[in-house]
């Protein structure tokens, strides 16, 4: 029943060409179907991001649910002033940190918890035969996160700064360092060669 409903809404999303702003305006007007379209449009991205932070499937599911309940509480009257991913990112990150803290409360010391809060979860920490993945796994977490947000999620530098709550200059330096590391890495330097 729910699967059928999900399939229906996913199909609806493909057919619904409305922009995020238009969907949000419709939700503000009380159109529940618009929220469903928005949910399925960003569900996998939020779940993937939460998984990157938590490295735990169940925690990522919780974060996904909490993130959209948080979004829902913004309505009616919600005004999107940036990219929707920029809006979602800090919510997912903070909820992920809370989820990890909860899960590891009895397993990690205080110093480790502080480190968890400051460093994004290793996205590619698992063993991988793919050279790019291995090289990415060697990047510091904050550099890797900026790299992914910039080139995979296609956020602008300003949007990344806003999403991560850091100065634009910090975003630039992290991205610069990440690219330099990949350029020097034997496993990825071929991408920089013509």
């Amino acid at each position: 029943m729910v699967l059928a409903e999900e399939a229906r809404v996913e199909t609806q999303d493909k057919l619904d060409a409305r922009s995020d702003l238009e969907l949000i305006a419709a939700i503000n007007a009380g159109e529940c179907a618009a929220f469903e379209v928005l949910y399925f449009r960003y569900r996998d991205w939020v779940a993937g991001l939460a998984y990157r932070f938590t490295d735990d499937e169940y925690a990522a599911q919780d974060v996904l649910q909490e993130t959209f309940l948080y979004v829902l509480r913004k309505f009616p009257g919600f005004r999107l002033t940036a990219n929707f991913k920029t809006f979602l990112y800090p919510a997912v990150r903070n909820l992920s940190i809370a989820a990890r803290r909860k899960a590891e409360r009895y397993q990690a010391g205080a110093a480790e918890q502080r480190q968890l809060e400051q460093t994004p979860a290793p996205e590619y920490s698992r063993p991988s035969t793919h050279e790019l993945e291995a090289a990415l796994a060697g990047l510091p977490g904050e550099q890797r996160e900026v790299l992914v947000l910039r080139f995979v999620d296609a956020l602008s530098l300003a949007e990344i700064a806003e999403a991560m709550g850091i100065p634009l200059g910090t975003v630039k330096s992290r991205l610069h360092n990440a690219l330099e590391t990949l350029r020097q890495d034997d496993r990825t330097k071929e991408f920089f060669q013509q």
Binding site: V2, L3, E5, E6, V9, I27, G30, E31, C32, F35, E36, Y39, R43, D44, A47, G48, A50, Y51, R52, E57, A60, Q61, L64, Q65, F68, L69, L72, F75, E123, Y124, H130, L132, E133, L136, L147, V148, R150, F151, V152, S156, L157, A158, K172, L175, H176, L179, L182, T188, F191, F192, Q194
Partner: protein
């Protein structure tokens, strides 16, 4: 260097551009999306339906109820006005509670009104007006005279004899 670069939208940030090959490879890296059970979707979408559902039932019903109440009040008001108008057409003295008994029109109901009605009935000069049917039995006769007299000598409530 003359790479085919993924150009950022900001000017002066060329050093932060990545080669197209790298960007394409990054996008091909499988992003690990965890399995999302239908229960998670269900929880979120149910909450959305609860919160975003148009609040038709109480508000609309209340609005309709108010309209019905207002309509009924108007009808009642019109009915009251019509009844009052009808009474006014029968009673030339609608302002006072005992005006119909005030036969001689001196502004008060006393034994003189009973005398006036008795005299009128005795002389038979003209038909007695219908509002003089004080006891409401359909005819104006000596029983109305008695009713006016009884009212004239009636003591006010709480009074002493």
């Amino acid at each position: 260097m003359n790479w085919n670069m993924h150009q950022p939208e900001h000017n002066g940030e060329e050093e932060l551009a990545a080669p197209e090959k790298l960007v394409a490879a990054l996008k091909r890296v499988p992003s690990r999306v965890p399995f999302i059970p239908p229960a998670v979707d269900g929880t979120v979408l149910r909450a959305a339906r609860r919160q975003l559902a148009p609040r038709t039932s109480p508000t609309l019903f209340g609005f309709k109820l108010m309209r019905w109440a207002a309509g009924a009040a108007v009808v009642c008001g019109v009915a009251i006005v019509l009844v009052q108008m009808q009474r006014s057409s029968l009673n030339p003295f609608p302002g006072g509670a005992f005006a119909r008994e005030d036969v001689n029109h001196d502004g008060r109901v006393d034994i003189l009104d009973a005398f006036a009605l008795a005299r009128q009935l005795k002389t038979g000069r003209g038909a007695a007006p219908p509002w003089l049917d004080v006891n409401g039995d359909g005819v104006v006769d000596e029983r109305d005279v008695t009713a006016i007299a009884a009212h004239a000598v009636q003591l006010p409530k709480g009074g002493r004899s």
